[in-house]
Symmetry: C2
Subunit: 202 residues, 2 copies
DNA sequence: GTTCCGGCCGAACGAACGTTCGGACGGACT
DNA sequence: AGTCCGTCCGAACGTTCGTTCGGCCGGAAC
């Protein structure tokens, strides 16, 4: 990796943090200048525009979750474990890349033209990937599409309340969300609830 | 209701629509002027600032969901039905007030000072209300707080993909989400799945 | 030792921003 | 007829925005 590339990476990471804090429109290039230590005009040697900065952040992050998910799912044998692996990976990845994932989730409609189209397409592919996992595991009551969006909502909402350094470790949160999605909050089917309780020694 | 108040209501509704489309920071007072038909300075007869406009939209909407939820829950007898009523109401309300609810969900960190504090407090109360419903209905595997945020995520994510006029009617979506939250996607407990399938004649 | 070039900057550009101000208009009161 | 007040406006305020431009600087190339 060249010197230029590593400096660019640093810029993207810093920018993601500020975008996550103040929002894309709420952040000025001067804010980024202050946060990165680069001068206002200096940043334009790494990126041709503020929008491209957002695009690069989103595109890179999307590539990382998607390829990570594919890798995680590949290791699992049956459809149910595959779905579990997807959830586990997405939640843990989210927790360890909060800024980028918040920017990816929250600044969804700020890009236009080609950049917007490319991000939209990659997002669709990622959603389709989950939908296929769900279709391989049909539910009697819930449409796969609805289930996919509901699950993404559950997981992506994380950035509004969850603190990775708080009392709940990321992998525990992932486990809890996987269980919630697969088995439900489960209060009115005592036998199933008891089975789950027994299986965890509680 | 005075003439002034009804005009203000109209302004808030129009502004909510534009805020939902372009975001708070992405919307200029000139955009709102164009959309409402009022002049740029004319709008300042109804509201002292752009931020107060956002606050009024959020505050009113929050009051409506919260009181609606209380009303819906009051009619239900047992804890499980109460939770179901809450979900049903929240989803259906969301679907019929998409713009306002999107602004309420998405423009969460744009207010400051007193206005931010007031909205934050009312939101906390609304979350607490759901958390109490969940605590009255303990789950063996999922913490009520996690369940509450997961459920809100599932429901509030709606604005990113759901179209009320599309193939899925709001009350059907609500039903599906309630079932998903309570029973889970349910594929590995055949007896429970079969029971649900039988109960709906499938 | 001179040239060259990538990295970086200060200063400035025109445009757009939220907000203000003085006044125009018209119906209700005296 | 004259006054008042709520409604609304055009024009402008100062500020901040994203972006550009000309040039400085230091090390590599010749």
């Amino acid at each position: 990796m060249t010197d230029f590339d590593s400096r660019l990476d640093r810029l993207l990471a810093d920018a993601a943090k500020i975008f996550a804090e103040r929002g894309f429109h709420g952040t000025s290039m001067r804010d980024l200048s202050r946060a990165t230590g680069l001068s206002l005009s200096g940043m334009y040697h790494y990126v041709p525009s503020k929008h491209e900065l957002l695009f690069r952040i989103q595109d890179r992050c999307l590539g990382q979750v998607a390829s990570g998910a594919r890798r995680a799912v590949a290791h699992a044998s049956d459809p149910e474990r595959r779905l579990g692996a997807f959830i586990q990976h997405h939640v843990v990845f989210f927790a360890s890349h909060v800024a980028e994932m918040k920017v990816l989730s929250h600044e969804d409609e700020e890009l236009t033209g080609t950049m917007a189209a490319q991000i939209r397409q990659r997002k669709r592919a990622y959603v389709a990937f989950l939908t296929e996992l769900l279709e391989a595991l049909p539910s009697p009551a819930v449409r796969p599409q609805v289930a996919a969006y509901a699950l993404f909502g559950m997981m992506n909402w994380i950035y509004t309340w969850y603190h990775p350094a708080g009392p709940i470790p990321p992998d525990e949160l992932a486990e809890e969300m996987a269980r919630l999605f697969m088995d439900g909050y489960q209060t009115h089917t005592p036998h199933a609830a008891a089975a789950v309780a027994a299986s965890q020694g509680g």
